[in-house]
């Protein structure tokens, strides 16, 4: 009887102590003084405006992680690699990153991801192309993921949710920026989604970025008397086009849909200066107000950035915040040591961990899970602009009942 009790006590003690011992062993196994993780982003060139904001969110996560003890007790430092939104340089950045990187955050843009993710896949390093289009990682699976649902699903959701709220829409004209290849693809998907619902796309008009006079494209858009308008433009161009549409007699504001690419403080500042002209229109929304302390903290920091003082929500660049926390969890949970001799094996463990994440606490976007195709269940939203602010009407999670 005594022997039995002793055995039970011993096994209970073992059960309690083993995880502690394991944790200690795991932290003592780490052979690096710091975790140097490559971050491929765009600090210069055409996409620098977005890149600087993405960098802000990534660095915010890094600072938080380091302030709370780092990753497995070691600080996180970034190896910043600038693609300048140039395909050749993006490949060069990736080739540098795969030399020693355990896991890579980025690239930021779809073009950079398209070119460089296959390099990561070939070398067997996981890259978290957080904000890139889903199509860009298809050939690089399972070594690349994007932190948003595929364009096809997203487009289907926004178009359907918008048309459901405007049942009178039978014909549509689309206005898009032609130079960004991914947006051209998005235009095709929007057209497909609309035509599935029986909505006819009368015209798909190219609008150059920064065009001083948009009256000619607006006249062309209104020529066929469309019931609805869909735009895929930069924020400033969106305001100019919608303003011209309204001036030329397009009355139904609810029948105007703006793609989420324009959803930024710049859009609302310009619209506000023009007398809240976007009020009543619909918009695809990425960031949303969230009541978690992490989100509030991040938003306050974001508002501290020059030019973002009036921001009432973060922007899609916050996906890099989430990606950085994913890297932290993947390194800690897989027991990675940073030992160069085990690099290959640890890269595979990290890949498998990230690809099978379930209900990962994103801190700012609720729990998210990996989907088999390399995307994540990060929700996006259909918003309606009221008092020059996007008010969420429906989320993709609600629409797809995820």
């Amino acid at each position: 009887m005594k022997k039995g009790r002793i055995l039970v006590l011993l096994s209970a003690a073992l059960m309690v102590l083993t995880p502690i011992a394991d944790r200690k062993a795991a932290s003592s196994q780490v052979v690096v003084d710091q975790w140097e993780v490559p971050f491929i982003n765009t600090w210069t060139g055409v996409g620098a405006g977005y890149g600087v904001l993405c960098d802000f969110f990534q660095k915010a996560a890094m600072e938080e992680i380091n302030a709370s003890g780092g990753i497995a007790g070691k600080p996180l430092v970034m190896q910043d690699l600038d693609t300048a939104m140039d395909a050749t340089r993006a490949a060069s950045c990736m080739k540098k990153a795969v030399e020693k990187g355990l896991v890579i955050i980025g690239p930021m843009t779809s073009l950079d991801t398209q070119v460089s993710a296959p390099i990561a896949a070939k070398e067997g390093v996981m890259c978290l192309a957080a904000a890139a289009g889903f199509e860009t990682i298809k050939d690089s699976r399972p070594w690349a993921v994007v932190l948003m649902i595929p364009n096809q699903k997203r487009t289907e959701f926004t178009m359907n949710a918008w048309v459901e709220r405007n049942p009178g829409i039978k014909t549509v004209v689309m206005l898009g920026l032609p130079k960004i290849a991914q947006w051209a693809k998005l235009g095709e998907l929007q057209k497909e989604a609309l035509e599935k619902r029986g909505v006819k796309v009368l015209d798909n008009i190219d609008v150059e970025a920064g065009a001083v006079d948009v009256s000619s494209v607006v006249i062309r858009a209104l020529k066929g008397k469309p019931d609805g308008i869909v735009t895929r433009l930069m924020p400033a161009d969106t305001v100019r086009v919608i303003s011209a549409l309204l001036k030329r007699g397009f009355k139904n504001k609810g029948a105007i849909f703006t793609h989420s690419s324009a959803d930024s403080p710049e859009l609302y500042t310009m619209a506000g200066e023009s007398g809240n002209i976007l009020d009543g229109t619909y918009i695809g929304v990425w960031g949303t107000t969230n009541e978690t302390p992490a989100y509030k903290n991040l938003l306050t920091k974001f508002q501290g950035l020059k030019g973002q003082e009036k921001a009432d929500k973060t922007m899609w660049g916050d996906l890099f915040y989430v990606a950085t926390y994913m890297v932290k969890e993947a390194i800690e949970k897989t027991g990675a040591t940073g030992d160069p001799a085990k690099l290959k094996e640890e890269r595979i463990r990290i890949r498998d961990y990230i690809n099978s994440m379930k209900n990962f606490d994103s801190r700012i976007k609720g729990p998210i899970s990996a989907l088999p195709d390399g995307s994540f269940t990060v929700p996006d939203y259909l918003g309606r602009i009221e008092n020059n602010r996007a008010v969420v009407v429906m989320s993709s999670s609600e629409y797809f009942k995820e």
Binding site: W43, V52, D82, S92, Q114, P118, A181, A184
Partner: protein, 284 residues
């Protein structure tokens, strides 16, 4: 891998810059090398990835095909003046880009990835550089080279001296297109990806910056400047990365203001030749 990639990329830019430099010798502003690079890259990518051709065949096929395209178009472009040709070939860059973007079998807007890799691409690239340099040097010293100089100096005078400018233009465009194709094929196999946005107007500006700042009168200028221009941003400290373009632009402006003929001129080359000859003689 990283260093290898840097070397190959620099080789691509040198060849592409030489392809732009070659027609300039004959006073032609021909932007064809950029679209020829795209044509060759896409050709090589398609035949090796989709049709399963051997890599070597795809590589040379791309180069030859782009040469043929340049040759075919040259019959229409040859009679044009310098500025007409510049405008028409810029338009052709956009036409080819749009074509690539709209051809689904070439991957459309998302481009083509998963192009098979080439072993020893560094060796291939340096061999290509060596061959191009020898050919350019031979051309420069030949009767054709002198004819080109005459056309560049005064077209009417050159015609009076019996230089057939139409045929010369066709030959120049074909050669430049083939060289551009060579650069494009190396690029495609190095990156493993082709995308419609790669060989566009930005690439053209970059190549002409290399040519004009490096020196457009000898092949040595582009050869020396291509690595410098490519490597400056690569090794620029990330903490001041946002000032990189200002620095880059300032260097270019300063060079062009102080040395309008470029960093390496004919006189520079002659001086270096004399210096090297004297060193060689002293050594013996």
């Amino acid at each position: 891998m990283y260093v290898e990639n840097l070397l190959i990329t620099v080789c691509v830019f040198i060849i592409l810059a030489w392809a732009c430099y070659l027609p300039l010798l004959g006073g032609q502003l021909f932007n064809g090398p950029v679209y020829c690079a795209g044509i060759s890259g896409y050709f090589a990518a398609y035949v090796t990835k989709v049709l399963g051709w051997p890599v070597a065949l795809g590589f040379f096929g791309g180069v030859i095909f782009s040469g043929f395209v340049a040759f075919g178009l040259a019959f229409f472009l040859a009679p044009l003046t310098m500025f007409q040709m510049a405008v028409v070939t810029i338009a052709l860059i956009f036409i080819f880009q749009t074509t690539f973007r709209n051809l689904d079998f070439l991957g459309g807007v998302t481009g083509m990835s998963g192009i098979p890799s080439v072993d020893h691409l560094v060796v291939v690239s340096f061999t290509a550089i060596f061959i191009c340099l020898v050919l350019l040097h031979r051309l420069y010293k030949s009767r054709w080279g002198r004819a080109l100089e005459a056309v560049e100096a005064d077209r009417i005078m050159a015609s009076a001296m019996g230089v057939d400018q139409y045929r010369m233009s066709i030959a120049l465009q074909s050669a430049a297109g083939t060289m551009g194709g060579l650069a494009g094929a190396i690029y495609a196999f190095n990156l493993g990806t082709m995308h419609p946005d790669i060989f566009g107007f930005g690439q053209l500006l970059y190549c002409f910056t290399i040519v004009f700042v490096g020196g457009r009168f000898t092949p040595w200028g582009p050869m020396l400047l291509a690595p410098v221009l490519w490597l400056i941003p690569e090794f620029f400290p990330s903490s001041i990365a946002q000032f990189r373009n200002i620095f880059f632009g300032a260097v270019v402006i300063l060079c062009l203001l102080t040395m309008p003929k470029g960093l390496v001129t004919k006189r520079t080359v002659a001086r270096v030749e004399i210096f090297l000859r004297s060193v060689f003689q002293r050594a013996h």
